[in-house]
C-alpha cells in the first residue's frame, strides 16, 4: 500500500486485513442460527404473498364497516318512519281543526259585512256569503289567526277534500238508508240558491248514491254515528249543517234538530241564523 493510496482511498493495509481475516473465526452458535432462521420462516409462513395481494388492508375493516353501515341504515329508516308518523298525526289532528280554523276568519271578517248587509240581503244570499268566503278567506286571513295551526294551502285543500269525502260518504249512507230516504228536498233549496257550485260535497252525484246502495248495515250505523260526531260537524259548512237541521225538522226529529241547532250556535255564534231556524 502506497502513501498515495492512504491519502486518496480507503485507508487499508492488505497485510493487516489478511491477518485479521485469518483471525476472524468467531461465529454465532448454531442454536442461535436455528432460532433466527426459524423466526424468519415463521414470519413468512402465515401470510403468503398471494393471500396478501388478494386481501387488501381495507378488507380487514369489512366486518366493522358492515356493522356500522347496517346501524346507520337502521337508524335512518327508524327516523324516517317516525317523521312520517309525525307528519301523519298532525294532518289527522288538523283535519279536525282545519274547518274551525278556516271558519274562524269567516267569523272575524263576517261581522262587518253582515252588519252592513244583513238587513238588505235576502237569506239565501247571506247564507252564500260564508260559503264563498270559507273557501277564499283562509289564505287571506291566515296571518290574522294568531297561534293557529293552519296547514299550508295544499294541506288545507286536502283537509277540505277529506271533509268533503266524509260528508259525501255520510250523505251516501243516508241516501242508502230507507228511513233517511228524503234528503233530496233539503238539497234542492241549496241547489236552487246557486250554492251547488261552491259546495260540491253537499249534493253527491247520482252514481255515488247508486254505489252507496249496497252499503252494509254496519257501515250505515257508522255513517249515522258520524253525523253526530263533533268532528263531522266541524268539518261541515254552516250551510250544510243548516240544511241538515232543516231535514231533521222535516222528518219530525225536533229533539235532534234542536240539539244540532244549539251546537251550530255554539260553533258559529256570529252566524246570522235564517228566519226559519231562529
Amino acid at each position: 500500500m502506497s502513501e498515495n493510496d492512504l491519502s486518496r482511498e480507503l485507508p487499508r493495509d492488505a497485510e493487516l486485513s489478511a491477518l485479521y481475516r485469518a483471525a476472524a473465526e468467531a461465529l454465532p452458535p448454531p442454536a442461535l442460527d436455528r432460532s433466527i432462521l426459524a423466526a424468519a420462516q415463521a414470519a413468512v409462513k402465515p401470510v403468503t404473498p398471494a393471500v396478501r395481494r388478494s386481501r387488501p388492508w381495507w378488507l380487514r375493516f369489512a366486518a366493522p364497516m358492515g356493522v356500522f353501515a347496517t346501524l346507520i341504515l337502521t337508524v335512518t329508516v327508524v327516523m324516517l318512519v317516525e317523521r312520517e308518523q309525525q307528519d301523519l298525526l298532525p294532518r289527522g289532528a288538523q283535519g279536525d281543526d282545519a274547518p274551525a280554523a278556516a271558519s274562524a276568519p269567516v267569523q272575524n271578517v263576517e261581522p262587518e259585512q253582515k252588519k252592513e248587509k244583513a238587513a238588505a240581503e235576502p237569506m239565501p244570499q247571506r247564507l252564500q256569503a260564508p260559503a264563498a268566503t270559507s273557501a277564499a278567506a283562509p289564505e287571506a286571513a291566515a296571518p290574522a289567526v294568531a297561534g293557529s295551526v293552519a296547514p299550508p294551502p295544499a294541506e288545507r285543500r286536502s283537509a277540505a277534500g277529506a271533509a268533503a269525502d266524509a260528508a259525501m260518504s255520510r250523505d251516501e249512507a243516508k241516501a242508502s238508508a230507507p228511513a233517511l230516504a228524503a234528503p233530496a228536498p233539503s238539497a234542492q233549496p241549496a241547489a236552487s240558491s246557486g250554492e251547488l257550485s261552491s259546495r260540491p260535497a253537499a249534493a253527491p252525484p247520482a252514481p255515488l248514491l247508486e254505489r252507496a246502495a249496497p252499503m252494509s248495515k254496519s257501515m250505515e250505523r257508522a255513517a249515522r254515528g258520524s253525523v253526530n260526531s263533533s268532528a263531522d260537524q266541524a268539518q261541515r259548512s254552516p250551510e250544510a249543517w243548516l240544511a241538515e237541521i232543516r231535514r231533521l225538522r222535516t222528518e219530525g226529529r225536533e229533539a235532534e234538530a234542536r240539539e244540532q241547532l244549539e251546537r251550530f250556535r255554539q260553533t258559529y255564534p256570529d252566524f246570522v241564523m235564517p228566519a226559519d231556524l231562529r
Binding site: 493495509d13 486485513s17 491477518l19 485469518a22 483471525a23 432462521l37 414470519a43
Partner: protein, 185 residues
C-alpha cells in the same frame, strides 16, 4: 432481501449465511462479550425480519444491516451506562500528524512453514486483541471496513459522520494496530 420480502424464506437463508459471521464479529468486537454479542446479534436479525414489509432499497443491504446493528449497540451502551462516543485522546488529528513511522512492515508469507503458520496464528490473535483495544470510533470504522466491506461513504452514512472523519479514524486505527503488532514481531 426483496425476495424475502415477497415471502421467499430460502432467500433469507442465503442472506443470513452471507452476513452471519461478519455481523456477529462486528458485534462481538464492539461489545467485547460473547453473551452480549449473541443477544444483540439475535435482536438485530429479528429487527431485520420484522422490518421486511417496509424494506426499501435505499442503500446496500450491508449498510442497512450494520446501521441496525450500530443503533442496537448504542441502545445497549446507553442501557449499560457506557458512553457511546469515546474520546480519541489525541489520536484524531490532521492527516499530516499521522505517525507513519508506526506502520508495520509485515513480512509477506513467502514460505508457509509450520513455524511460520504458528507465528501468524499468534500474530492474528494479537491483532484481534489490538482491535478490541482500539478506541470505539476507530474500532467501529475498522470493523465496518473489514467485516462490512464498506467504502468510506458507506461507513460515513452508517455512522452518521463525515467521509473525512471516517478516513481519519481508519488511519489512526491502522497506525495503532501496526504499532501494537510491531512489538510482537
Amino acid at each position: 432481501m426483496l425476495a424475502y420480502q415477497t415471502g421467499d424464506g430460502a432467500a433469507f437463508e442465503v442472506l443470513y449465511g452471507r452476513w452471519r459471521g461478519r455481523l456477529y464479529r462486528y458485534l462481538l468486537h464492539q461489545c467485547g462479550q460473547a453473551a452480549w454479542a449473541e443477544e444483540l446479534y439475535q435482536d438485530v436479525w429479528l429487527k431485520v425480519i420484522g422490518a421486511r414489509e417496509h424494506y426499501e432499497v435505499a442503500a446496500k443491504f450491508s449498510t442497512w444491516l450494520f446501521r441496525i446493528a450500530r443503533n442496537r449497540l448504542i441502545d445497549h451502551w446507553r442501557s449499560a451506562g457506557k458512553a457511546t462516543e469515546e474520546s480519541l485522546d489525541g489520536f484524531e488529528g490532521e492527516d499530516d500528524e499521522l505517525p507513519l513511522d508506526a506502520r508495520v512492515e509485515l513480512a509477506a508469507s513467502g514460505e508457509e512453514t509450520p513455524s511460520r503458520l504458528l507465528e501468524r496464528k499468534g500474530l492474528a490473535e494479537k491483532l484481534v486483541a489490538a482491535v478490541n483495544a482500539l478506541p470505539a470510533v476507530q474500532r467501529e470504522a475498522f470493523l465496518l471496513a473489514e467485516e462490512g466491506g464498506m467504502t468510506l461513504e458507506e461507513i460515513a452514512a452508517t455512522t452518521g459522520t463525515g467521509r473525512e472523519t471516517v478516513k481519519s479514524r481508519l488511519r489512526y486505527a491502522l497506525a495503532k494496530l501496526r504499532a501494537d503488532l510491531k512489538e510482537w514481531r
